[in-house]
Subunit: 474 residues, 2 copies
C-alpha cells in the first residue's frame, strides 16, 4: 500500500516539469502545454494505469465501486479502457459520507498521512446541510500551485504584478490554490480576507494592485462601490480580473460589462470542490481578447482527463456535441477521482488554440450544471442564458433575479431587475418590453419583467443567488 502511493507520487512528480518557474515568456511548461495529442495521450495513459491501482489500494470507496462493477485494475490496460470505469456522481459521495462521517471513504488519505503531511481541509459551502469535507496534503498544495501558476502565466500575469485577492479565505477550494500559485510566481498578494469592501476600494486606490481576484459578482459589486466612493475603476491600476466560483469570462454580456467597468481583461478558472480543486479550466489571453467567437476554457490534459457524456445514458458524446463534463484527476494524492461527473454542459474541441496550447478547449466555457437547469413549460434553459440577455442592457444594474412560479397550472417566468438611477420611471414600460423580447429570444419563453428602483435588490457580494424557483415550495 505504501508502495503504490510512493510510485504514484513519483510519477506525478516526474511530469511536474518547471516546478520553480516558467520556461519562457509564452509558456510555463512548453513540453506539456504545446505537445502533440499523441504525447498527451501517452502521459494520460501512463498515469491512468497507475492511478487506478492507487485508487483500488488506497480508496475504499473506489475499491468497492470496482468490485461491484467486477472490474480489476488489471482490466484497465490502456486509455481506451477508461469508459469501463463506472461514472461517479455527487450523490454517491454524499451517501458515502452519510454512512462514513465525517470524511467518507473516497479519499486515499488516511489518518496517518493526514496527521504527518496534511495541508488543509476544504468543505462544501451552504449553511444548513452537513458540510462535506475534503482533506488535501502538502503534495496536493504544491501541484495546485504549479498548475494554477501555469494557468495564470497563460492569462498574462507576470513579475511586476501585484494581486489583490478578494477572497474570504474560508475552507473553500476557490482561490487557496491561486494564493499559493502567486507565492510560487513571486507575485505579491494583498489578501482581502475579512477586510470590508470600502476599505478594499481604498486599498486598490492607495496600493495599486494590478490583478484582482474575485467572483464575477463581487468584481461588479466592488466596481460599483469604487464609483460610490469617487474612484473610477476604469482608471484604477487593475489590468486583469481573475474569477472563479461562477462563470464570468465565458458569458459575453457579463464579460463586456465587467471589462468596461474596470477597463481590464476578465479571466476565469473553472473547477469544483469535489474533483477539480486546481484550475481544471482557464482562459488564455488569446481567448479573452479575440472578438470572433465564443470564449473557450483550456483544460489541463496532462493532469486530468476530460470527457463529455450524454445526460441520460452517461455514454460519451461525439466530439463537437454538447455533453456533461466528466473528469478523471491524475494529480492528487488525496482525491484522485476517476470519472467524476461535474455535470456542467460544454462542447469539447481539440483544435489547437491560436495561443499555441494544444490541450482540449471547452467551447464557450461551461454553461451551468445540469442540476441548475430550469424546466419551464417543458422548455429547458440555463440561468446563464437569461443572464446573457439581461446583462446586454447597459441601462440595467448588476443585480437581477429569476423567479419561477406557478399560476393555476402554468409555469411563469419573471425577471426582476433594476434600471440604473438615471433611467426615468416613465421609461420603465418600454425598457421592460425590450428585456422581455431579449429574454424570449434567448430562451423561447416570454417572461414577466418586474423593474424595481435601483438599490431594491440585495447586493450580491460573493456567489450570486439569482434563481428563485417557487414551484418547489408548493
Amino acid at each position: 500500500m505504501a508502495d503504490v502511493r510512493k510510485q504514484w507520487l513519483d510519477l506525478v512528480n516526474k511530469y511536474m516539469l518547471q516546478p520553480d518557474g516558467p520556461a519562457n515568456d509564452r509558456f510555463w511548461v512548453p513540453e506539456l502545454e504545446t505537445c502533440s495529442r499523441d504525447r498527451i495521450k501517452d502521459i494520460q495513459e501512463e498515469k491512468l494505469l497507475l492511478c487506478v491501482k492507487f485508487l483500488y489500494e488506497c480508496s475504499p470507496f473506489y475499491r468497492e465501486k470496482f468490485k461491484k462493477a467486477k472490474l480489476h485494475p488489471s482490466d484497465i490496460k490502456s486509455l481506451k479502457d477508461l469508459p469501463k470505469i463506472p461514472i461517479t456522481t455527487k450523490t454517491e459521495m454524499v451517501e458515502d459520507v452519510k454512512v462514513n462521517p465525517p470524511w467518507g471513504t473516497y479519499t486515499t488519505v488516511n489518518e496517518e498521512i493526514w496527521s504527518r503531511r496534511g495541508w488543509m481541509m476544504f468543505a462544501t459551502s451552504g449553511t444548513t446541510a452537513a458540510p462535506r469535507a475534503f482533506r488535501h496534503t502538502l503534495h496536493d498544495r504544491d501541484i495546485w500551485a504549479w498548475n494554477d501558476a501555469r494557468a495564470m502565466w497563460a492569462m498574462g500575469i507576470r513579475p511586476g504584478d501585484i494581486a489583490l485577492i478578494a477572497f474570504g479565505y474560508a475552507p473553500h477550494v476557490f482561490f487557496w490554490g491561486v494564493h499559493y500559485a502567486l507565492n510560487l510566481m513571486g507575485v505579491p498578494i494583498i489578501p482581502r480576507g475579512s477586510l470590508d469592501t470600502r476599505r478594499t476600494c481604498m486599498f486598490i486606490n492607495t496600493f495599486k494592485p494590478t490583478i484582482l481576484g474575485a467572483t464575477p459578482s463581487y468584481a461588479l459589486y466592488l466596481g460599483d462601490v469604487m464609483k460610490e466612493m469617487g474612484y473610477d475603476p476604469a482608471q484604477s491600476s487593475i489590468r486583469i480580473i481573475i474569477t472563479g466560483g461562477e462563470p464570468g469570462a465565458t458569458i459575453a454580456a457579463t464579460k463586456r460589462r465587467t471589462e468596461a467597468l474596470w477597463n481590464c481583461e476578465l479571466h476565469e478558472f473553472y473547477g469544483c470542490t469535489e474533483a477539480s480543486q486546481t484550475a481544471g479550466g482557464y482562459t488564455c489571453q488569446y481567448q479573452v481578447t479575440q472578438k470572433d467567437g465564443p470564449v473557450c476554457d483550456h483544460l489541463t490534459e496532462d493532469i486530468q482527463i476530460w470527457e463529455t457524456v450524454d445526460p441520460v445514458t452517461m455514454e460519451p458524446v461525439p466530439l463537437g456535441k454538447p455533453g456533461l463534463s466528466v473528469v478523471t484527476n491524475l494529480f492528487s494524492e488525496a482525491a484522485p477521482l476517476a470519472r467524476f461527473l461535474i455535470g456542467d454542459y460544454t462542447v469539447l474541441n481539440y483544435d489547437p488554440c491560436p495561443c499555441g496550447r494544444t490541450h482540449a478547449l471547452a467551447v464557450g466555457g461551461f454553461y451551468g450544471r445540469a442540476d441548475d437547469m430550469l424546466n419551464i413549460r417543458g422548455i429547458t434553459m440555463f440561468p446563464t442564458a437569461i443572464e446573457e440577455a439581461i446583462r446586454g442592457f447597459a441601462e440595467v444594474g448588476d443585480e437581477f433575479q429569476i423567479v419561477v412560479s406557478q399560476e393555476k397550472m402554468l409555469d411563469v417566468l419573471t425577471i426582476v431587475a433594476e434600471p440604473r438611477p438615471d433611467v426615468p420611471e416613465k421609461d420603465y414600460p418600454k425598457l421592460a418590453k425590450r428585456i422581455q423580447d431579449a429574454v424570449r429570444l434567448m430562451v423561447e419563453i416570454r417572461p414577466n419583467v418586474d423593474l424595481k428602483p435601483y438599490g431594491t435588490l440585495p447586493k450580491t457580494e460573493i456567489k450570486a443567488k439569482r434563481v428563485f424557483d417557487q414551484r418547489k415550495l408548493g
Copy 2:
C-alpha cells in the same frame, strides 16, 4: 547595494538551522534555543554589524536617521555600541509615510525586489486612519514560518494535531506567519476565514481539530456560542489554544477562565505589525502549566535583540526593573528595524526557563502599551489590571467595558459588566460591591460598577474594544 543585501540574506540563512523540521522532541533547534548567553551575544553581534550596514545602504529612513545622529555603520563595532543607535518610534514611521506615501522609506524593499519576490502586503488596522502598509518578501515568509514553528514546537504542538485557525485572513500580520508555520510542520489547517461562528462551532464538533488559533476575546466568545448550540467546549477536541493580538495567557484570570471553558492549555504569541511580525515572544509548555509564578514569554534572541527602556529618558533600565519593550530585528529582508519602540511594559530576566530554553524571558508577559495606559486622578494603570480583577468573578460574563468620564473636575472610573443569566437581579448590588473592592485592590481607585443584564453589551468577536475614555471628548 545588491552585495550587502546578498550578504545579509546569506548570514540570516546561515543561522536558520533545522529549516525543514525539528531536531528532537523537545527543541526545534537545540543549538540556538539552549545555547549559552555568550553564544547568543556572538550571534547577535555578528548579525547586528551587518544589519546596520544593510539598513544604511538599503533603507533611506535609517540612512537619514544615522546621518542626523552623526553615526556611521562603522561606529557600531560590537553589541555594546547598540545604544548609540537612536530609538525609532511609531510616530516617526507615521510621519515618514505621510511624506512618502504609500509605503514610506523605512523598508529595504524597493519596487524591483517587491515585484520579483514579493510575498504579501500587511497593513495596520483601523477603519478611519490611512492604513500603513508593510511589504514582506518570500524570504521573510520562510523565516517567519521557521520561527513560528519553533515557538509552536515549544508550546507542544505535534504531528497528529489539526489546527482550526479562527482568523479573518485580512492583510494583518497576526496568524499569517502561523499559517505558513503549520504548513512547514505538516499540521493540517481548517481555515475559518469568513466562515460564520455557528458553522465554526459545527466544524469543531464534526472535524475535531485539536488546536484553536484565535484572539483571546474570540476564544471566549466561540466557547460561549458552542454552549448555546449544545456543544460542551470542555468536552471538545481542542487541547491547545494559541492566541495573538491581545495579551491572553499572561493575564491570570483570563487564562483560568479560558482554560476552564475549553479544558485546554492557553498559549500566546507576542508581537506587533511594525517590528515583530513573527513571534517575538511566545509561551512554552512549562510556563503555561506551572502554578507558582507569573506566566512568562520567551523572546527569540538569535533573531531579535530585546531591550527595556525608561519611558521618559528612553535609557535602558537595569535588569529586573520594568521598562518599555524595544526590539532590533535581525531576520527580515524587508523591515529589519533597529531599536524600534514597541512600547509594552515588561521586565526582562535571563534565568534559563525550566523548559531548557536559555533566551530572555519577559516576566509576566507584556502588560499593555504605554500609550494604552490610563491616568485617572493622577494614578496610572493598565486596562489589563482591571481585566484581571473582573475576570476573577466566575459569575460575570466575558464582556465588560471600562468607562472613564469626568464629573465636575473629577475623573470617574466606571466598570460596566454583565452577570451571567443565572445570577438573580436581587444579588446585583452585592456583586457590584465585590467587583468594586477587587478593582480597587488592583488599581487603587474605587470604580462605579454598572451591572447590566447578560447580553446587553456588544459581543466582541476579534480584538476587544474595552476602554471608553469620554474625557477626551470633552
